[in-house]
Symmetry: C2
Subunit: 311 residues, 2 copies
Amino acid sequence: MIDDQLPDRVRVREVGPRDGFQNEPERIATADKIRLIEQLAGAGYKRLEVASFVRPDVIPQLDDAIDVLHGLDVPGDVELTVLVPNERGLQTALEHRETFHDVVIFLSASETHNRKNVNRPVDDSLATLERMAPVIKDAGLRCSAVIATAFGCPYEGHVDPARVVELAGRLAAAGCDELGFGDTTGMANPRQVRAFFTRALEALPGVELTAHFHNTRGQGLANCLAALEAGITSFESSFGELGGCPVPPGATGNVASEDLISMFHEMGVDTGVDLDALLAAAREVQSVLGRRLTSHVLVAGPIAWGERAGV
Amino acid sequence: MIDDQLPDRVRVREVGPRDGFQNEPERIATADKIRLIEQLAGAGYKRLEVASFVRPDVIPQLDDAIDVLHGLDVPGDVELTVLVPNERGLQTALEHRETFHDVVIFLSASETHNRKNVNRPVDDSLATLERMAPVIKDAGLRCSAVIATAFGCPYEGHVDPARVVELAGRLAAAGCDELGFGDTTGMANPRQVRAFFTRALEALPGVELTAHFHNTRGQGLANCLAALEAGITSFESSFGELGGCPVPPGATGNVASEDLISMFHEMGVDTGVDLDALLAAAREVQSVLGRRLTSHVLVAGPIAWGERAGV
């Protein structure tokens, strides 16, 4: 069956503890966050996005970032990522630099989305990120940058892939180790994804490119597949299908980690994550949130047969 | 963007009026069935599976097959398919042969699944289908055969692709015009799908091969993508994500037509189906059933921006 050319192994960053918890209407207790993050690390994740240094009056759900970071006890080979929205957030984060390994900074490829999100033109955001990346690197930390609306904008529609690659090149030149491309409102399709990442991999050698898809129109896993086939080996997803600012209410946001991990494993592509242990973490967050989550593998169970399948 | 080799156009058969309606706990009124089928034809479908000649005591939801078929008024270029489970059902169907165009017969690739489904060994079912296919052809009708559990069995696990291709070859030799491959319980993965259809297309020239995927573990569209990339141009799906015998309860069954059509169109692959008209039909069946359906594009709306997206 291995007549194609897929990698044996990919890296998956779990973003639920930041992106997911941020989107919950109720703030999750700090002790619950710590327990869930440690459970995810125990499931085998080596990359976890766990906190954000944003203004607590804007995102109260993450106002305990410092307590979470100082409270965590995870294996030494687990890379913890924090998100910072601006230079002020970065300064606060750097006061706790011993508690994490990687800082993610972000902008939108689309002018209108960037203005609505951070009230600035894209070029202003880019200039700020170009100042922040060296500061992060000088602090001995890894630096990631995410380009949101990389595959389409809910306000403008088409986003020029040449512009996305140009922004990525500027960020790489500023010192970023990793560049993430976010399909923020689920507008990407697999043909577009394959073409984009083929181009981006050629244009951006020496920097890690990460795919971050949403399942808004059900194409999340198909887009991950297209990215994998184009040569991408770094992905992000969210356990329990949490987060991703789903619009409209009730829609799906981030690709569910358990669905993505299941697909990769069934394809013979290892992730290092134990699916059963991940499902246990997803059931645990379901219990903490007090509502039923609807990722496919959580509902249907992993692919199995005979006694395990209960048939 | 068109540097890959995808077809400009594919055929999609809508199976909701048979597979979907059969799986509803309450029998849908005949007039509602007819109205919904005509609405789907109006949306541009040229292939609709609309009825089944099964025992009414076994599947009362479809006991009005004859009334539905005689009541339908669809354009002359719309191909209507009926499912028959056995020779007795075929005889009844042929009494109404002027009301449809295509008969679908079926077996399972897996021995245990076939025995549990129709209480016979696979070879017995195959012999029956080999008798039925010429009868269907002699009646001037098109003949399709579906091989269920073609990508995995919930009882046995792995299904040998060589056995599936062998069964398909026997059915093609018996006169079948089309061979469908069903991922009955959602066990397929894209790598397997690509390898299988590459092999099947080589082994079975001159017969139409159709992909029928379930979204049980969320991989439905990714598997359709893999089939498309392997060269498959015929697909089946169900509007409103109806049907497909989802196991366990609450799980997803058939791939949702609106999600599949949306993906193909975004990729520049035409289906002949008007997505907005299809969504109207999905909303109509939602109203008939009195419950909310959860296909992604029905919930989130089609990919759009600006005024249309309401942002």
